[in-house]
C-alpha cells in the first residue's frame, strides 16, 4: 500500500495521476480462513482491522453480499456522540469517539472527522430533568458534556426558534467534542487498511448457509462456493435475524426501516448537529451544504430500505417549527436503512449458542458513531473470548434481566 501524503499528491500531479493504485484488492475467496466476518460495512471492516492490528490475526475474509459500505454505513446521518446515560454504553461510545479523533492518521485515510459539537434539545420539563441527569452521569463517566441554557443554544445555533408554540427550547445537552465524519470514508479507510494487511474483502458474495458440526461452526456456503473457517463473526445489522436463523438460533431483535433525507445545498448556516428527540428529528449541514435530516423508524418489521411517507411529514413538520428558515428548502433525496432494534435499545456483542460464532448487532438507530469502538471490542471478543468493552452487551443479559436501558436516555433518535 502506497501511503497517501502531500508528497504523494505532488508526485502524482507531475505524472498525470497515473500512479494511484486501487485502495483495496478484490481477490477470489480461498478455501479456508482463520476468521470470516460476514458484512463489509463499517463495523465488520473495523472488526477485521482491529483483529489484525491488535491481535495479529490477518488470515481473515470479510464477505459482503452487495458492495462495500452500501448498507447502513452509507445511509446514516454521520453523527458521532457519546452522551449516553448508562455506564457500559458511555464506555463503548466514548471509546469509539476517542478512536475517531485520530482515525484519519491511524488509517492514513481522511475520514473528515469534524468535532463540531452536538446539541440535544430539551423541549419538555421531562427532557430537561433527563438531560441534567445524563450530564451528571457523563461527568462521572469521564464524558465531557454540559447542560446549557436556551440563550447559549441560540448563540451556538442562531437559526433556531427558541419559543415555538408547541415545543419551546428549554435548554440542551451539549457535547462539544461530538460531531460528524464522512461515513463512506470510514468504510473505505478500514477496507484499505485491511487489504494492506493481507485480508480478503470479497464483495458480491452472499452467505446462503452456515455449516456446523457438533455444535461448532465449520464454515459458510456462499454464492461463490463453500468457505471454511475456525471463527465466524456476523456483523450484518438489519439482516442479523436472517443470518441467526441460518445458524439455528433466534435473536431478541426486530428489523425496521429508519429514514433520512437531504436538502438542496445552501450556504453555511449551522455549524453543529442539533437533535430534537421529542419531535423525532435531527439535522446537520454537510460539507457540501446540504441539510442532512434524520427521522423516525417505522412501527412494523420491514426489509425494504424505504420507510413510510408519513414519517417524513412528521419529521419535516417538527423541524420547520424549530428552524423556520428551512421552510422553503427543497429536499433532494430520501432513503431508508434497515436497522436492527433490541428491546433495551442497546447493542449485542456476544458469543452465541453455536461455538465459534460471534454476533455484533442490535445497534439499531445509532450504529455509525460506534464503528471503531465496536470493531475494537468485538475483535477482542473474537480473539480472546472476552472483552471488557463488550462484557455487559452479551446475549444472556436478556435472560438475566441485566438490560442496558437506553430507550429512555437516548430518546428515539441517535
Amino acid at each position: 500500500m502506497k501511503r497517501y501524503s502531500a508528497f504523494a499528491v505532488a508526485r502524482e500531479a507531475l505524472r498525470n495521476h497515473m500512479g494511484w493504485e486501487r485502495a483495496w484488492a478484490s481477490p477470489e475467496p480461498k478455501k479456508k480462513y482463520d476468521v470470516i466476518i460476514i458484512g463489509a460495512g463499517g463495523h465488520g471492516l473495523a472488526t477485521a482491522y482491529y483483529l489484525g492490528k491488535n491481535f495479529g490475526i490477518t488470515n481473515v475474509a470479510v464477505l459482503e453480499k452487495g458492495w462495500l459500505g452500501g448498507g447502513n454505513t452509507g445511509r446514516n446521518t454521520t453523527i458521532i456522540r457519546s452522551n449516553y446515560l448508562q455506564d457500559p454504553s458511555a464506555a463503548m461510545y466514548e471509546k469509539s469517539r476517542s478512536l475517531y479523533e485520530t482515525l484519519s492518521q491511524d488509517l492514513n485515510y481522511n475520514i473528515m472527522y469534524s468535532p463540531r459539537g452536538v446539541i440535544m434539545l430539551a423541549q419538555t420539563e421531562h427532557e430537561v430533568r433527563g438531560y441534567k441527569r445524563t450530564a451528571h452521569a457523563n461527568a462521572l463517566q469521564g464524558v465531557t458534556t454540559e447542560f446549557i441554557s436556551p440563550q447559549r443554544v441560540k448563540e451556538i445555533v442562531p437559526i433556531i426558534n427558541l419559543d415555538g408554540p408547541r415545543y419551546p427550547v428549554l435548554g440542551g445537552l451539549w457535547q462539544a467534542r461530538a460531531g460528524t465524519a464522512r461515513h463512506d470514508a470510514v468504510a473505505w479507510g478500514f477496507a484499505r487498511a485491511c487489504s494492506a494487511m493481507g485480508m480478503d474483502i470479497i464483495q458480491k458474495c452472499e452467505v446462503t448457509g452456515i455449516s456446523r458440526e457438533g455444535g461448532r461452526v465449520t464454515g459458510v456456503s456462499t454464492n461463490r462456493g463453500d468457505i471454511a473457517c475456525d471463527k465466524l463473526g456476523i456483523v450484518v445489522a438489519g439482516h442479523s435475524g436472517h443470518l441467526a436463523d441460518m445458524a439455528g438460533f433466534r435473536l431478541p431483535i426486530e428489523s425496521v426501516s429508519l429514514q433520512a433525507l437531504v436538502s438542496e445545498p445552501i450556504k453555511p448556516c449551522m455549524d453543529c448537529v442539533v437533535m430534537a428527540n421529542t419531535v423525532h428529528g435531527y439535522m446537520s449541514q454537510s460539507d457540501k451544504g446540504e441539510m442532512v435530516i434524520g427521522g423516525g423508524t417505522d412501527g412494523y418489521n420491514n426489509y425494504t430500505q424505504r420507510g413510510a411517507f408519513h414519517h417524513i411529514e412528521e419529521t419535516v413538520r417538527a423541524l420547520v417549527e424549530t428552524f423556520p428558515m428551512i421552510s422553503r428548502l427543497k429536499m433532494l433525496r430520501q432513503w431508508g436503512g434497515i436497522v436492527d432494534v433490541t428491546g433495551d435499545r442497546s447493542p449485542i456483542l456476544s458469543k452465541t449458542p453455536v461455538e465459534g460464532v460471534f454476533i455484533n448487532c442490535g445497534w439499531g438507530t445509532g450504529g455509525f458513531k460506534a464503528t471503531p469502538g465496536s470493531g475494537w471490542g468485538f475483535a477482542e471478543l473474537m480473539a480472546k473470548g472476552h472483552s471488557p468493552l463488550c462484557n455487559e452487551f452479551g446475549l444472556n443479559r436478556f435472560k438475566e434481566g441485566r438490560f442496558i436501558d437506553e430507550s429512555v436516555a437516548a430518546g428515539v433518535a441517535h
Binding site: G241, H242, R250, E254, Y300, N301, T304, F309, H310
Partner: protein, 109 residues
C-alpha cells in the same frame, strides 16, 4: 404505505389509522414455566425476511385488535383476520402458498 382492512369493523384504511403490535401467535409462558420458555416468550423474535404474521390495532377507528399476514420484503398484505385464533386461517395460508411457494413461519407453513 400499508393499506389494511380491519376485520372487526370492515374499514379499509392506510397505516396511520392503525398501530403495529408486533409478532402474532406468541404462546404465553407465565410463572411456573421454565426459564428458557419464559425467555423465548419474552424476547426471541422471528423477524423474518418474507412472510410475517403480526398483531395490529385499529387505533383511530374501532379500537380492536386483529392479525395481519404480510411480506416484510415487498410490504404486500396477504390478508387480515380475527385475533381470536391460535393460528392463521386456511384461506390466508392458501393465499400465501399461491404467492410464496415453500414459505414457513415458526410452526406454520
Amino acid at each position: 404505505m400499508l393499506i389494511l382492512t380491519c376485520p372487526c369493523c370492515g374499514v379499509t384504511a392506510e397505516e396511520t389509522e392503525f398501530h403495529g403490535g408486533g409478532e402474532a401467535h406468541v404462546t404465553r409462558f407465565g410463572p411456573g414455566s421454565s426459564e428458557d420458555d419464559f425467555h423465548g416468550y419474552l424476547f426471541e423474535k422471528v423477524n423474518p425476511k418474507g412472510v410475517h404474521f403480526e398483531r395490529w390495532r385499529h387505533n383511530n377507528g374501532c379500537g380492536k385488535w386483529f392479525h395481519a399476514a404480510r411480506c416484510t420484503v415487498t410490504l404486500e398484505v396477504f390478508g387480515t383476520y380475527s385475533a381470536q385464533t391460535t393460528e392463521p386461517p386456511q384461506d390466508i395460508k392458501d393465499k400465501i402458498s399461491a404467492k410464496r411457494p415453500g414459505w414457513s413461519w415458526r410452526e406454520f407453513a
